[in-house]
Symmetry: C2
Subunit: 215 residues, 2 copies
């Protein structure tokens, strides 16, 4: 049992954590296809990861496999869920209900991961008191209070870029410690807050480069 996440001495990277999330999803699919035991070699065929990387990533949090045998799929799912902290439902907030925010709400792709957008805030008053898919849209002036009262920790910023930093400041003041940021700007936040930037335009533009320059 090796716990590297001891204060000041974490040897695993952000990528390790993202991969754990990916492993988890694939393990669930493997479980659903009726497989109980799997080796790192077998699972690597479903993944953009080598068998060693899979084992190494897991080794940061303990050894969950049996030498000479492999991994118990069901147990590994439970362990990774526990490591990530996704073994309970997460209620998260979203700020900004423009085109992007509306699209994200409609997409609703997080609910099957036990992540639910339950609070949505927007500055436009005509959306206030509006209800979309059972979610009450509240005015941004209530944001701080609602987030504080309900101890929300994770928020999605889907506001226009020019108000994103201000929004982030408010969210941090309200107790948010994780931000999924869709605004194409660099958010300045305190050390205890994590920001993950999603930028599909950058992905597409780099794709255009590689898809047309390769030979």
């Amino acid at each position: 049992m090796n716990l590297n996440n001891i204060k000041g001495k974490k040897t695993f990277s952000t990528e390790t954590i993202k991969r754990l999330s990916l492993y988890l999803r694939n393990l669930k699919r493997i479980r659903d296809s009726g497989i109980n035991i799997i080796s790192s070699d077998q699972i690597s065929q479903f993944l953009e990861a080598t068998p060693v990387q899979f084992r190494k990533d897991l080794s940061y949090f303990g050894g969950f496999g049996k030498r000479g045998v492999g991994y118990n799929v069901e147990r590994l799912i439970k362990e990774i869920e526990s490591i990530l902290g996704v073994n309970k439902e997460w209620k998260i907030a979203m700020v900004g209900l423009g085109k992007l925010g509306t699209a994200l709400l409609g997409f609703d792709g997080f609910s099957k991961f036990n992540i639910k957008i339950v609070y949505v805030f927007d500055s436009s008053t005509d959306k206030t008191e509006n209800v979309k898919k059972g979610i009450k849209i509240e005015h941004i002036s209530n944001m701080k209070e609602v987030i504080k009262k309900n101890s929300i920790k994770i928020a999605i910023i889907s506001t226009p870029p020019d108000v994103a930093q201000h929004t982030a400041n408010e969210l941090v003041a309200a107790g948010i410690t994780g931000v999924l940021n869709f605004a194409p700007i660099l958010l300045k936040v305190p050390d205890h807050v994590s920001v993950s930037n999603v930028d599909m335009a950058c992905e597409l533009e780099s794709l255009i480069f590689f898809a047309t320059k390769k030979n």
Copy 2:
């Protein structure tokens, strides 16, 4: 003038290209605020990149600055657009018009980058001949032909995971060389095809880890 993208000897990474795209967007905002000349030190304040990284990234494609002075914003924008190949309009295709695909179409966040989703394919016949926002939704059986005929090079896969690989195969056969993949599986494609995976659930799950484990 240094061209490292000579066959078999490219020294820059995928990250370099993604950063160029990010630089481009920020340079445009800087231009719009009326600034003509900027140093790498100044621009780095808008970015998650150091001044050296900015200069290094550019140096792979040539020296665009003036020593002792800085960079001409307008010229740099033109140069980066030319490097990425985004100095013309890109017509791209989308396959799969479920919740995610519909959300992406509604979001329409690519059009301001000169990237337009002009062909949408779906297997459901009741969506066929349908028109959304001026885009004709075609049945997937026409996909190969339409993509070939119009020389489309980039496609978005927003199908369910179980048909994503098959879709990718068809797309590659039709001449696609770049895929933005939203399906949470590993696509197997030939070497000349680039795949960029977008997985917001992974982002959120890793965010939950860091946002709750940090202290």
